[in-house]
Amino acid sequence: MNFDFSDDQKFLRDEARKFLEAQCTSAHVRAVLDDDSKSHNEGVWKQIIEMGWLGAAIPEEYGGLGLGMLELCVIAEELGRVLAPVPFGSSAYFFAEALKLVGSEEQKLALLPKVADGSIVGCIAVSEGPGEIKAGNIATQLKGGSIAGKKIPVTDGDIATHAVVLVKDGSGASLVIVDLTQDGVSRKPIKTLEPTRSHAAISFDGAAAELLGEAGNGMALLDQINDRAAVLIAFEQLGGASRCLEMANAYAKERVAFGRAIGGNQAIKHKLADMYVKNEIARSNAYYGAWALSSNAAELPEAAAAARVAASEAFWFASKENIQIHGGMGFTWEVDCHLFYRRAKLLSVQVGSPAVWKEKLVSALEAKND
């Protein structure tokens, strides 16, 4: 039994944590939060690029470090802990993984090295309106090599240079790669619940688009991309949930009311114990997702779904109860609790809401037990 990260991976985690705790502090996150003109923290982003993390799971022949998915999971957890205000996930979890999974050799050679060295930033553009995306409700359309329509919201859509876009293609759906810097693409920043990660509405009006993967198979390909991204996002969620527990635990020990630390009261202790249990369940499910991802296991769909459901629940619970334990202080702009509450919501809906993933999970269990 070896259901844990290796010593090398733990070393990477320790190094990443040291770096991020020093270089991506609350002040760095707040520099983006408090300035509407900033889409991300450029200083932090530059250093992350320099360390090569974007290419951690990109093979060396495509310009990456060629480490592996487990290493990317380790990095994701650390980025989640500090609420890194950078477009890392959009570029590394979605765009690069989509290319690795279904890109042609030319596409991989052309784009992956640039993702790895940060010269391009990728994202994924799926949502068009409220509710779950389904094949039948996509309006953005592919015709003769160009697309027209509007995607909203697109996470990191205002700073990305390229996007994987889900489009209607004849009677089916396809995925295309679009250069967002071309004429025919217009972008408008969108205010969201989570201002430390930028969002845009992107309008396409005859923008040149290149097919990614098989035409007409877009929904199935998107499912596969989402399974991979869900595991990586689960690690970010886990990192955030762990920080919430640490913050709430520290505060409960230091805050005095009625003559003693509030953490001595069972109402608070049991809340913290509940957080701990949810976080551990999320961690175990995330590790299983990491294993499935790194070994291309047939179990990936249910492993990813379980990782996502558990991590979404853990981060939601930890982020809201962290505010509660902080009391009035927790409801101030100055205390970081609300930053985690905001990030928890972004990460739980970004790749499909928990309800969508619960349904995926149950469908997978049904198929498996036929």
């Binding site: 913290l272 114990a273 629940e313």
Partner: protein, 398 residues
Amino acid sequence: MDFNDTPEEAKFRAEAQAFLSQHLKAKTPGALRSGGREDFLARAKVWQKIKAEGGFAQITWPKEMGGRGGTVMQQVIWGQEEAKFDAPTGPFAIGLGMCVPTVIAFGSDEHKKKYVHKALKGEEVWCQLFSEPAAGSDVAGLKTKAVKDGDDWVINGQKVWTSGAHYSDYGILLVRTEPNVPKHKGLTMFIVDMKQQGVDVRPIHQASGGSEFNEVYFTDVRIPDADRLGEPGMGWKVALVTLMNERLAVGGSPGPDWKEIMDYARSSGTMTDQAFREKLADWYVAAQGYKLTKFRTQTALSRGETPGPENAIGKIINANHLQDICNSAIEMQDHFGLIVDKDEAPSDAIFQESFLWAPGLRIAGGTDEILKNIIAERVLGLPQDVRVDKDKTFAEMN
């Protein structure tokens, strides 16, 4: 990251599997609980003897005590493999897991010679006598008293929730020997012969309808001072050793889980209910999460590390989910869900039966609330609860 055994672990697992398949039948799918208590005890004694002779009883005990001198990881592997077979192990879990290790730790050479090997071979069964009607979660508040009389101690009082007392030969008994000190400091541990005069074992009629536990009354029971474990007044420290020896939980869920309710929902055409599907996903995630948490524990053990408090997590999750799952299954069956008659009720009434059991599982072996306190205090380092009796003597508080 993988789920494979190391070569040494694989070798041990193969040995265990060979031994088990030589002596036992594989578990029948769907059989959740072995029935027939009397027959169960006889079968358990036979199986315990076979294990002891084969070198698979108490794998972590030293060889001179009749154990295998093996690792905790081997114990875990053995537990996993034994659970795949129809192995009657229940009656020895507490005795060999908790009581006899306490005798080994605190008993005299005569005690070890007299008791350890017989217990290991299944010839004598042990029970643990700690809980009392007024001392459950706060067991150190117990009232059963022992008064010194010559070379003996005279015991009077009542114990409760004693598993297996009705078929046990011996017990370890925690009593109050000094009321004029704070409660933890006035306790003493003894070995007690359960078959002697003055020990009255009465079955408890449980809320579930069955009688698996007992009350034990002690009336002027004499225990020689030689059968004391540890110094007078040291009983709490001895008891902590007993409780620390609680076996690593290696078993599965204590009743129907997500798979059983999914099977029922599919067979009854209720799988289309969206609210049910969401709950099913939650149950799966929790059950899977607990299973995988145990894999993380085993990884730590395999690397020679000390595991954390995941047993507490498991118990909180499993007992609550069992209760929830059974409740949902019964509601899915609507009015028909009331029926407990196995000939009429779906799935042999396992949901109804476990529905009645589940409240007990949330209490036995540490209530949900005590387990959360343990996580909060020992893992998260939060302050202890207020203890108003802390600096008062037992006598002052009672």
